[in-house]
């Protein structure tokens, strides 16, 4: 196969929903290249790749695969023609096993009768590629954390024969260990001549693996260039249309009184005796490998899951707070931004306005719970502006927003509720660089206003940039806590690994 051949060429692609999303987009993909798609939230990256994968029909435009016209009517047809896509949002079936999920569309069978031994063997091989060899292929999907689920989706994409593989933000919920494994696999596929379209908001990844980069802005291709010829700053500038500051570390702030103290928090078998405290004006980061129990910790504090042991103290009070449900938590000023936005964070069919005001409805309602709609609208509009949510108006349905903008809506809902303790689980998951900076700024501001913030992130860089302290979890325990200045990437990684073996 010639190394320079073009696998896919698409031209003049148009797509509009309520507004134009793609405008005359042209894209080509060569054999064995990693072609990165970058752009702000809502720039149209997912829509473009969904068109290529047969999930969405373009309004206009033509595509060719290896010179033959290509117009898939369904994902199945695209896959038949060798085009596969790993979607941005998780799309796994909770009641199937890991093995079944990976091979859902080609279960090894004879006359419809599944050969489970073969299936499990195939699955083990596929899982090993993404570093999930420890996982039982017969585990049910709904017992897995979101990071593991994302790896399963990737494993499914990697384990099929294909000529084009589209990865839409595959690493949004992964930590560096898994990312390394993924890159190894990408290199292997490249060597086999597969063309890969890679979407990510993490610029350092783009820089590492991309051969060429296409920058989308407001649905238009701004540039397509070999990765070597364009600097990171240049990419970001052309994406966002302005210069972004360096990620600078936050100056150490004077920490206030203790706002949240957790003692001996245990929820078997996921977390064991976790204790820490956060002060007003402080941002405490949580680092750790996937499945180390960070999400579980936040959920247990928030009362979303029952805990087996442990106390939570608020505002330096000597008696433990009574938190048995999220309602208790929110009433006492704790907010949780969940990591699974689609299932737990946002009400997709409802208007943005309704989503933002949900936890704070009583504030805009009068006698008998009568909602003052004008007040609600104004408040929602204010937060839409504050966070720069890209939408027509507060009346737009949340389902129509791009992933990043949905995330902003969820953040807006908590900021509007005005809690003192903010538990953020992967707050920048799927958010573009520009918006990330806005969120970092926001976090800093909030800390400045005296909020206590706990932030879980799989992106160590951002933790290093915005946190005052970083707690590292390993195998369900709190392995170490580092202060700003004491930490280094190596020490944190070592702590994160310490609990395993």
């Amino acid at each position: 196969m010639p190394q320079s051949g073009t696998i896919l060429s698409a031209g003049g692609l148009w797509k509009s929903y309520s507004s134009v999303v793609l405008e005359d987009v042209t894209l080509d993909l060569r054999v064995g290249e990693v072609h990165a798609l970058v752009g702000e939230n809502g720039a149209g990256k997912s829509t473009l790749s969904r068109i290529i994968a047969g999930l969405v029909k373009p309004d206009q435009g033509h595509m060719e695969v290896f010179g033959t016209p290509y117009a898939p009517r369904s994902k199945a047809e695209a896959e038949y023609l060798g085009v596969r896509m790993v979607l941005q949002e998780l799309n796994l079936v909770g009641t199937l096993t890991v093995a079944e999920s990976i091979f859902i569309d080609q279960l090894p069978n004879r006359l419809g009768w599944i050969n489970y031994r073969k299936l499990n063997d195939q699955a083990r091989a596929a899982m090993a590629q993404v570093g999930l060899s420890g996982l039982d292929p017969q585990r049910l999907i709904n017992t897995l954390g979101i990071g593991q689920q994302q790896l399963i989706e990737i494993a499914a994409g990697l384990s099929r024969r294909c000529r084009i593989l589209i990865l839409d933000e595959p690493t949004a919920a992964l930590t560096s260990t898994e990312i390394e494994l993924l890159f190894t696999q990408i290199a292997r596929l490249k060597a086999m001549g597969v063309g890969i379209i890679y979407i990510s908001h993490r610029m350092e990844e783009i820089q590492r693996i991309a051969d060429r980069i296409t920058i989308l802005r407001d649905g238009k291709v701004v540039a397509t260039q070999p990765a070597r010829e364009i600097s990171l700053n240049e990419i970001v500038r052309r994406m966002v249309g302005r210069e972004l500051p360096e990620i600078t570390s936050r100056p150490a702030a004077a920490a206030g009184p203790v706002r949240l103290r957790v003692e001996g928090l245990t929820r078997r078998p996921w977390i064991e005796h976790v204790s820490f405290e956060v002060r007003a004006g402080e941002i405490l980061g949580f680092a750790g490998l996937m499945g180390s129990g960070r999400t579980e910790t936040l959920r247990a504090i928030f009362g979303a899951d029952p805990r087996d042991a442990g106390d939570i103290f608020l505002r330096n009070s000597p008696t433990p707070a009574r938190i048995h449900s999220p309602r208790d938590a929110v009433r006492q000023g704790i907010a949780l931004l969940t990591e699974d936005r689609k299932e737990q964070g946002i009400l997709l069919p409802l208007a943005i306005r309704c989503n933002i005001s949900l936890p704070s409805l009583p504030q805009v309602s009068g006698l008998g719970g009568w909602i003052r709609s004008q007040a609600e609208k104004v408040a929602a509009g204010e937060w839409i502006r504050n966070l720069g949510v890209k939408c027509h108006s507060g009346e737009q349905q949340a389902v129509e927003l791009s992933g990043g903008n949905q995330q902003k809506v969820v953040i807006a809902k908590w900021l509007r509720r005005d809690c003192d303790v903010l538990l953020f689980d992967e707050p920048t998951r799927g958010i573009d660089v520009g918006a990330k900076f806005e969120i970092y700024e926001l976090l800093t501001q909030l800390a400045g206003q005296g909020k206590a913030i706990v932030m879980v992130s799989s992106d160590l860089k951002e933790l290093l940039a915005v946190c005052d302290r970083i707690a590292v979890m390993s195998a369900g325990r709190l392995a170490a806590t580092f202060k700003r200045g004491d930490w280094s990437q190596d020490r944190i990684m070592a702590a994160a690994l310490s609990g395993y073996n």
Binding site: S18, P349, L361, W370, I371, S393, K413, R417
Partner: protein
């Protein structure tokens, strides 16, 4: 149907009125079509009498459909409405006939019976995390058994003591009809304009997300079941006073009729979307259909066939109208 009511569409307020009109247009058209067909087929169908007859017949069905709409919006179901109506009717009849209780306290007791059944349905399903389908299926049997036990399976003749409720009228429209209209309007306002209504819609959309927003969905759900219980009791009181007698079998099959009317109105069985006003139109459509078929004197199997087809057709039309609205909206 009620994208208008619950999920404010994306356009700004100027599209509001056009949308509201479009909202009920399909239903009104269907209604008009039925009236037209039956007016052509029979001599006396198109008359004020028919109108008043229908108006005085539907209040009970409207109240039950209102409750069922709320229930479906929170993504639950209540199969027990018919039986609970029978039980409330039995309570009313037995306390008035056998214990000589005065009408007003007797109505109160019937209301309490409905409330109790509703609360039972709500509490059991919420407390044990059971699907409401099965809890209310149990209640369907329990309440009917209770009605029979109370009345010893005998229809209780109450007589004119209870009559005033049904026979007071304003401009030819009975008190129950006016009450039903008031409750429909109130229900729609609660649904679209209050915190409680918003919570209902949110719970029907994604209960877990609501819980994680710091709102306890359980009291809301129990309240919806309780309200439905009371509405059902009211419906039972109205029908009992209309018939001046309490039949332990009263209400048999109401659940499916109510669900059919509500779904014809466009409320989603999946929760999170619905409108009380549309359900009112759904009830009207079913009533006109029944009245018309009776006026024609259609054979029973023909009636069934036509009813079945109308239910399916109405929902298909609703589906298309929705799709059409959506497309139009996205093109703007």
């Amino acid at each position: 149907m009620s994208e208008a009511s619950n999920q404010p569409a994306r356009e700004a307020g100027r599209y509001h009125w056009r949308r509201v009109a479009g909202e009920y247009l399909g239903l009104l058209l269907a209604l008009g079509l039925l009236v037209l067909v039956f007016s052509l087929l029979t001599r006396h169908f198109f008359s004020a009498t028919t109108f008043y007859t229908i108006a005085n017949q539907i209040p009970a069905a409207v109240l039950i459909a209102t409750g069922m709409t709320l229930i479906l919006i929170i993504s639950a179901i209540d199969l027990s409405v018919g039986s609970v109506a029978g039980l409330c009717s039995a309570v009313l009849g037995v306390v008035m006939v056998q214990y000589k209780v005065a009408p007003l306290p007797a109505v109160g007791l019937a209301g309490l019976a409905g409330l109790a059944c509703g609360i039972f349905n709500g509490l059991v399903s919420v407390r044990f995390g059971l699907p409401s389908f099965i809890v209310t299926l149990g209640m369907l049997e329990i309440a009917r058994g209770g009605a029979h036990a109370l009345t010893q399976s005998q229809t209780q003749y109450i007589g004119s003591a209870i009559e005033p409720i049904a026979s007071l009228s304003v401009l030819g429209l009975s008190l129950p009809f006016l009450l039903a209209v008031v409750i429909v309007i109130a229900g729609q306002l609660v649904l679209t304009r209050t915190v409680f209504g918003r919570y209902m819609i949110a719970i029907g959309t994604n209960e877990e997300a609501v819980r994680l927003s710091g709102i306890d969905p359980r009291p809301v759900k129990v309240a919806v079941f309780a309200i439905t219980g009371v509405l059902v009791a009211l419906a039972a009181v109205i029908d009992t006073s209309r018939f001046q007698s309490a039949n332990p079998n009263a209400g048999t099959g109401f659940e499916l009729n109510a669900i059919a009317a509500v779904v014809i109105g466009g409320t989603s069985l999946m929760g999170g979307r619905g409108s009380v006003v549309s359900s009112f139109f759904g009830v009207l459509i079913m009533a006109v259909l029944n009245t018309g078929l009776a006026a024609v004197g259609a054979k029973d199997e023909t009636k069934r066939l036509i009813t079945g087809l109308v239910i399916v057709a109405a929902v298909i039309i609703d589906q298309y109208r929705h799709r059409f609205n959506r497309e139009r909206a996205t093109q703007q």
